[in-house]
Subunit: 256 residues, 2 copies
DNA sequence: CGTTAAGTTGACACGACTCAAAGGCGGTGG
DNA sequence: CCACCGCCTTTGAGTCGTGTCAACTTAACG
C-alpha cells in the first residue's frame, strides 16, 4: 500500500520511530544507528492481545513498530475507556517503571510488530545519549499534550465532532510515519472500540459514522477510513494540529 | 486553619514540593535543602491572573507554592476546558520548553505564591542531582496518570459521579501536602469553573451540587468543600486513589 | 451452509443543554 | 449606614443529544 525504498535504505528511511523523533529533535547519523539497532529485536504479537495489563509492574519498555494498539482503562463500573492509540513509532510505557505499576492496560488492535527493550538499555541511553534522551522527552510531552487535547475535545464537543477530530488526528499521526496516504488510512478497530474511545454507546457511534458518511465527510469501511475532503473535515472538527507538534518536519538532509 | 510546626522546622516540614516528592522518591537531606533553596524566590500572584498564555513560548519553569491555579484550553468554539488543577507543590510547566510553545494556558484561581525557576537551574539539576531528577520524572508521570484518569472519568460517567470523583481527588492531593483536613478543603473556584472542568453547563453543575448536598454527600459553600462521609463519597464516585500514587508515604524519619 | 462477530435499525427514556430571569452576597461609594 | 452594583448562584420550562433494550442484517470464516 505504501511505496518502500530499496532494501538497503529501508532501515533508516522507514523506521517509524526515527521518522517520528525527527519531528521533535535533531538527530545525527550515529543516533539513528543506535535507534535502528534497538529496533532490531522485534516480535510479532497477535491481534487483540494484551501487551501489558492494568496493575502489572512494568518490566520491559515496549515500542510499536508496525500495526496498532491502544491504551485502555477498565472502570469500576465495568466499562472500558480507551485513552490513547499507539501507532508505529510510539512507546507504550517509556518511563512508567518509576511509578511501579500500570494504571492502564495496552492491547493490540491488530497483529503488530513490537520491540521490547529492557530497562537497562533505556537507562544507558539516558546516561550517554543526550540527543536521543531529549527526543524521548519530546515524545513523552507530545503524548501528554495529546491527552489534554482529548480531554478538552471529549468533554466539550458533541459526538460527531469528536469522531471527526479523532480521524483528523490519526490521519496526521499516521502520515508522519508514512502509514497513511493523503486522505485515507487503515484503522483496524471496531465501532465498539471507537465508542469506548469517545465515551459513547456503540449504537450512537454507528449513527454518528453514518451521519458523517451522509454529509460526505468520511467513510469508514473495511477497517479503512477514507476522508472525502480533508479541509472540510478539519473545519467541521475544529481541528488544529499544533498540539501534535508534527510540523514542520525538521529533517532536512544533513550535509553529505 | 492547618497547624504549623515551629518556625525553625517550617522550611523542610511544610514545603509542599518536598512533601509531595517524598511520596515518589527517597530524598536525602541535601536534596531537600536544594529544593528548599529553589523555593526561596517566591512571588505573589493576584487571583484570576494568567501565569502563562496559550501559544506563548515558555520562558520560566513555574511552581505553585501556595494557593491554587488551573490549566485550561480555549477551544475554537469559544468554550473553555479546564484540564487540570495545580495545587501547592505542583509544577506548571516542568519540561514544556522542549515543545516550544504552550498548548494551554495557566491561570490562578486565587491569590497564590508562585516560584519562578529559570531553565538553567532545571538543567543543572537534571545533570547533577539524579535523585531530584527522578522525583521530577515521578511527578510528571503522576500528572500524566491523572490526565488519563480524568479522560476516563470524563467520558464514561454521569456528571454527579464526575463531580464526586473530582472532590475525592482534590481531597487526597491536598491532604498529601497538608492543605486539607480529614474531610474538607478550600476550593476557591466558581461553579462556572467547575462546569468547565467537567464539560457541563453551569446550570447543570449547580443542580449536581445541590443533588450531592441533598444526598448528604458533599456540601460546597463559601469556596469550601465539606465531605460528610468520605467512605460513602468514595463509593459513590467509584474512586480508586491508586492513580495518584500518594500512598503509602515513604518518608519515614531518616536515622538521626 | 452454520456459526459467530460486527454492523444496523427502531422505539422510547432520560440526562444535560439553552434561554431567560430571579435571588443572594460582598463590594464600593454616597 | 444604606443604596447600589456586579458577580455568583439558583429556578423554571422546553429541547435535543445520547443511552438502553432488543431485534435484525450483513460479513467473516471454516
Amino acid at each position: 500500500m505504501w511505496p518502500r525504498p530499496a532494501m538497503g535504505a529501508w532501515c533508516v528511511m522507514d523506521n517509524p520511530l526515527i521518522r517520528k523523533l525527527e519531528f521533535g529533535a535533531r538527530l545525527e547519523t550515529a543516533d539513528r544507528a543506535r535507534l535502528e539497532e534497538i529496533c532490531r529485536r522485534a516480535r510479532r504479537v497477535e491481534a487483540r492481545t494484551d501487551l501489558i495489563e492494568q496493575g502489572e509492574p512494568p518490566s520491559m519498555v515496549r515500542l510499536v513498530l508496525e500495526g496498532m494498539a491502544y491504551r485502555y482503562k477498565l472502570l469500576p463500573n465495568g466499562r472500558r475507556s480507551i485513552v490513547g492509540f499507539l501507532l508505529p513509532g510510539d512507546f507504550c510505557d517509556l518511563h512508567v517503571a518509576i511509578l511501579g505499576r500500570m494504571d492502564h492496560a495496552i492491547a493490540t488492535a491488530v497483529t503488530s510488530t513490537v520491540v521490547e527493550i529492557d530497562r537497562d538499555t533505556i537507562e544507558d541511553i539516558t546516561r550517554t545519549e543526550p540527543r536521543i534522551t531529549r527526543a524521548f522527552w519530546w515524545a513523552t510531552l507530545v503524548d501528554e499534550a495529546t491527552l489534554r487535547e482529548w480531554l478538552a475535545s471529549m468533554g466539550h464537543r458533541p459526538a460527531d465532532k469528536q469522531m471527526a477530530h479523532l480521524f483528523c488526528e490519526l490521519l496526521i499521526r499516521l502520515q508522519a510515519v508514512g502509514r497513511a496516504s493523503v486522505d485515507s488510512f487503515r484503522l483496524p478497530v471496531t465501532q465498539d472500540e471507537l465508542a469506548d474511545t469517545l465515551g459513547i454507546s456503540v449504537v450512537h457511534a454507528n449513527r454518528v459514522l453514518q451521519q458523517l458518511r451522509e454529509d460526505g465527510l468520511v467513510t469508514m469501511r473495511n477497517r479503512t477510513v477514507k476522508i472525502h475532503d480533508v479541509g472540510r473535515l478539519y473545519a467541521f472538527a475544529e481541528f488544529d494540529p499544533t498540539y501534535l507538534h508534527l510540523a514542520p518536519p525538521r529533517n532536512e538532509p544533513e550535509a553529505a
